[in-house]
Subunit: 225 residues, 2 copies
Amino acid sequence: MPANLSATRQIVVTVDVVLLTLRDGRLQVLLMRRENDPFAGQLALPGGYIHPQQDDDAGAAARRVLADKTRVRAPYLEQLYTYASGARDPRGWSVSIAFYALVSEQALRRTGREVFELLDADALPHLSFDHNRIIETALDRLRNKSAYSSLPCYLLPDRFTLTELQQTYEQVMGVPLEKSAFRRKLADLGFVEPVPGARQTGQHRPAQLYSLKAGARLAVFERPF
Amino acid sequence: MPANLSATRQIVVTVDVVLLTLRDGRLQVLLMRRENDPFAGQLALPGGYIHPQQDDDAGAAARRVLADKTRVRAPYLEQLYTYASGARDPRGWSVSIAFYALVSEQALRRTGREVFELLDADALPHLSFDHNRIIETALDRLRNKSAYSSLPCYLLPDRFTLTELQQTYEQVMGVPLEKSAFRRKLADLGFVEPVPGARQTGQHRPAQLYSLKAGARLAVFERPF
DNA sequence: GAAATAGTGTCTGTAAGACATTATAGG
DNA sequence: CCTATAATGTCTTACAGACACTATTTC
């Protein structure tokens, strides 16, 4: 055991989760009001201490914290980055293992509870700790990874139309896409498949419903959309 | 303060560094023999505890640990992933903020000291802790990111020929590249520039030397090589 | 000139962008 | 019929892959 282990004991280890969803075509972040100091009453990401007796690993801790605080079970959760410094928490040196999660607006609504707030990710007020920076990193990751993966599917419910999927990609990446090219590439990549059923939204031809193929892994492709 | 802070105090926080270099056309990892238990005498990544009084943040801790243990100053250092679980260290729940670093063989040789070993990244023996897995993640990250960025440049010395750069990309990514297309793309992307001087390696025309352009940021491009 | 690698030019095939056309629903 | 969106087909353009050709060095 090293002589300086006592020093390392001063380090606090937490997990924080950036939960993102798409509502009315805009990316939104789930935030909560802090009950305790520091920053009591201010908005912050859902987060908490790791419970070594309870959590097998950091991902389990993130899922537990998210479920305990918000009742949300996100279909996609990925480690984002670890923020570790003496400056980010007024109480001293601290480590936050940050995750980001994606969930559909529909699934979020189903939790019922309104212990949290959803705010536009692009127009946030000043948040507790370095949480603004953590969210920026999450948005960068989502936008970047969306260009070459099936990630945006996790912002939609289980079944969706190709137009909804295209709009989701467009809203996340911030650029318009060509319908024909988009569908050609979807067909080539083959990570979605038609499922029985259609959706009608007006006085016109209804759209075929699709869902992610059974092999639920994240599809990653060579060239971006 | 939460009631379970005492529990969080049991968590040990370390940094570990996967330092990669290219020697004789093969990716190699810097490893050291552990002096203390657990795993005394076994090979492990250079790593150590965070020193809250000394390290501003995790990156600073990684640079300090690398410099202290190996005298290496790597031109590229990036946070890789955080391994945090109750299973990875026999002493209990622990957190390792892992980094990966790139350095040229020439710069590594200049350190002189041989307190470390360099082993082929693709044929490693069983290492301490979960270090095999950490190295796998580092290799995946390097290979993936090399396909769409100027990252491999950091495996070369300051000045290099375009053939050397192409071979570096090929060795990292494991696929042959077309010389003409490679150079066309380099010219388009424009992150390297010719510098005065040439290198002659045989009885033939010498090659122009190049170096990374002054704006030393990592160049990231849309489509992979 | 021969040999070897540096460096450039040209053709081709593939895939994305642009845009037109057909399909199918309700009124 | 008209309207609106779904879904597909076709033409063009951009770029990567393949490969030939020229350039420059030592012997």
